[in-house]
Subunit: 397 residues, 2 copies
């Protein structure tokens, strides 16, 4: 197994510590799996405790044996009962007084109340969400290398899709075959999301007019799935001639996600689909012009939406009618729903080494979804695309 470079971890910790010092937070308690992995290089049942200066302490409930054998560049302590955590922290001079920071966007309310009422009574518990998400939205060279690896297996899987697609194959059969392909190529399986109830399993393989159905998740495509128990993604519908077939998948290597959508058709696409795809191509060109270091996401969003409006297709852009989503792209990294967001109001300008999945998509009634998605890195020289399959419809005979 490939460890995260030690220098990388120490730098991430130091950067968070600097933000804690600025915000006068005396103790950060990191517990969510993706954040723990980011700041400590391991995933445990426990907490990474950091003050604004000095050594952090990794508090581990489980697995104890495995963690004892690891050579981590910071101290580790073990516990069984969460009630012992304040005492253990106190012994190393962490958390005596001052504000405590926690991941309040993902921490369950009961645990929050326990921290607040029982473990650290009369202490203010402040939210670390923005601090963490802002730090994590700028990727290191190591992180970009991992996303590149995820992108490579995704490119290869989307080519495989072109070999598999045939009339009569169901969406589920195609999805399952591509999932299998991704797993053998090193996909970890689990795709992490941060937003509560934003459930995801690999992605969405959809076809034809039924494929434009929105789901409960805040994604442009949805689909119905094949059961009310998980109403999104591939269904049992069979692939048919003349329909757009969209494969939107996430691959995940060493924790890092790449996200890509490609289109396929058996035979020919309807004229309206081809016209919408010309606009998609134009939106990619515009995005490459607009997505510069320093650009405001809100301006990119308005510029591209203006183009869509001028073409009269706004009601079908990024969903249908009231179920449209109001972003054109989203950050990816350890989670599928990272910062930045290309929305009207996202508050931070683009910066070098942000990694964004850009996905202009049209949902055409009686036809289906047409659009592409690519994961790209913001650089001083423009967008560097990390997913690299040819951005064209795979036309299959």
């Amino acid at each position: 197994m490939e460890p995260v470079p030690v220098a990388e971890i120490l730098q991430r910790q130091a950067d968070l510590q600097e933000m804690l010092a600025d915000a006068e937070i005396e103790l950060a308690l990191i517990r969510q799996a993706a954040d723990l992995y980011y700041y400590s290089s391991v995933i445990v049942d426990g907490f990474l405790a950091l003050g604004p200066a000095g050594d952090p302490l990794l508090l581990v409930r489980r697995p104890q044996q495995r963690l004892q054998e690891l050579d981590l560049p910071f101290p580790v302590a073990f516990y069984r009962d969460i009630r012992d955590v304040p005492r253990i922290l106190g012994q190393v001079g962490l958390g005596h007084n001052g504000a405590i920071g926690a991941e309040l966007d993902v921490m369950p309310a009961l645990l929050y109340r326990r921290l607040h009422e029982e473990l650290f009574p009369q202490r203010s518990i402040v939210d670390l969400t923005m601090m963490i998400r802002k730090q994590r939205m700028i990727k290191s060279a190591y992180e970009i290398a991992q996303i590149r690896r995820a992108a490579a297996i995704l490119d290869e899987t989307l080519e495989e899709a072109a070999r598999l697609i045939r009339p009569g194959l169901s969406e589920l059969e195609l999805s399952a075959a591509l999932e299998y392909h991704l797993r053998l190529a090193g996909h970890q399986g689990l795709v992490r999301t941060r937003t509560w109830n934003l459930e995801m399993f690999f992605g969405h393989v959809l076809s034809g007019a039924a494929g434009i159905q929105a789901a409960y998740v805040e994604t442009p495509s949805g689909g119905t799935g094949f059961s009310h128990g998980f109403p999104q993604g591939a269904g049992t519908k069979r692939l048919a001639v003349g329909e757009p077939i969209s494969v939107d998948l996430a691959a995940c290597v060493n924790g890092y996600i790449a996200d890509e959508t490609r289109l396929y058709v058996l035979g020919d696409l309807p004229e309206a689909a081809c016209k919408a795809l010309e606009l998609v191509e134009r939106l990619f060109e515009l995005y490459e012009v607009e997505a510069q270091v320093g650009s405001l996401p809100g301006e990119i969003y308005q510029r591209l939406r203006g183009e869509v409006k001028a073409a009269g297709l706004e009601d079908y852009f990024m969903g249908v009618g009231r179920d449209r989503v109001f972003f054109l792209g989203h950050g990816v990294g350890l989670e599928l729903d990272e910062y930045p967001l290309i929305t009207a109001k996202f508050p931070f300008p683009l910066a070098a080494d942000m990694v964004i999945a850009f996905e202009p998509k049209f949902f055409l009634p009686e036809i289906g979804m047409v659009g592409f998605e690519d994961t790209g890195r913001i650089t001083a020289a423009g967008v560097e695309w990390l997913t690299r399959s040819p951005r064209r419809v795979w036309q299959l005979r």
Copy 2:
């Protein structure tokens, strides 16, 4: 797609309303995917709002189009901004005053604070966790039928494993092939868990001595995975002669989970493994005697642990050393980690139609994990096993 029976949904809502009335809770707001599905038969971005009497109201942010077309046996209202929720509820006489109940074990702290400080200020927000988990731990005939279907595809997949296993195949290759098999058989893919950070992807395919490693998740088996980014489950280790090969998978049909573990060996198991398996067989026999309607989980736990202790194997039971887990079984249903738990202190007696995955397992140093897991229903006539593969080691030549 098969809808959940209407009578079933209305009964579940009525039962919750009765508990709300008893607890003097004026409004329950249900939002988590599994709970929403349980109480409303749909999964939306929104809330099911129930008072102690009268019609509930399903508040839907998305998908609006699809929900408008459904014929649900209760009213539905649509919103875009969560700040409109109290007003919409007020219009139908819900939530004017009194305590508000929410799923505080899974609701993020920020949303909880928002309910408390902004949306329903000066109102007490109480926790519905125990109420919901207690209700959901008793399964209806419909629910048991779904778990039976999940169990059937799981049985069939565990037989398929016996056909696939050969020396040199990696754990990941075996796991991926079984995942593919399950998907084609109708597994929805996603396996829901309730506990924060209890991540799961299908389950754990492990082999040999390395397979006894514990992971961060509160499960007896763990494994290292093949990346620090998701350190559990199948790794790249290759299957070898004479090692226990364990396949612990969850299948999920119409939202409902069955959980099963079977063992395989190429050639012969070591003598110590066979002896431990005799004890496993004895523990299943004891469990069938002890797991009666009205039995206390704590007594079952002590009785079985006593047997293990008498055999001198307690240090290797349900994990290794300090990484052992302290349950012998767990409820399954819409989530993998439901009530009841067979632990020393679980507070409720067993009741008819609880569905429990019972998994006595030994983690033998230098050998590997040996044990079985079956999902069974508690009935007045004893345990009815829903997973039904022969409970024996598949010995492969």
